[in-house]
Symmetry: C2
Subunit: 105 residues, 2 copies
């Protein structure tokens, strides 16, 4: 049992995406990405079994999917996606997302 | 791929815990518990493989563990626990938590 404070990884970098590994185990991996406003976490997919959740902690932007798919994304919004399905995110303002991947990749 | 808004389950009940299933799949289960201030999500454990994350979305309280274990818990705090390890939560103010269980139980 361990406690982690996401406030500890509330750091942004100009023109970039900061990545913080919050937790990793045989069961799931949890990563905090802080995407500077205007930046895009590129759409990608892995040919693997499993799913991920992508939760907006702060800021606004869009969840991205296959082709031109884009859904408004703000605090409290969660995207569920297969790992094998194209997924990404675009930040309008500085945007923090928490990604949980099961099983971990 | 689907999007869920946690704002849609921001509901509390006097003297009780509201439970909303956010997502369920062979890979993980995501549940939102809204615990009225003063209420306790009792410490419990299941004799199963796997882990869970318990993330505070709003409100303050304590993460509970084995015996007298209690850790302050506020927005952005995450508890990681084995499913087989005693875990629970106590709300001081109205407290929303998001629990992700992998694999689902």
């Amino acid at each position: 049992m361990k406690k982690i404070a996401l406030e500890g990884t509330n750091v942004f970098a100009d023109g970039a995406i900061k990545k913080y590994l919050i937790h990793d185990s045989p069961y799931f991996k949890i990563i905090n990405f802080n995407i500077k406003g205007g930046e895009t976490f590129p759409v990608h997919a892995h040919n693997l079994e499993g799913q991920l959740s992508m939760q907006v902690l702060a800021g606004t932007g869009e969840f991205l999917g296959k082709g031109e798919t884009a859904m408004p994304a703000g605090p409290g919004d969660i995207l569920i996606s297969d790992i094998s399905e194209p997924h990404g995110a675009r930040a309008i303002t500085d945007m923090r997302i928490l990604v949980t991947i099961a099983p971990p990749i």
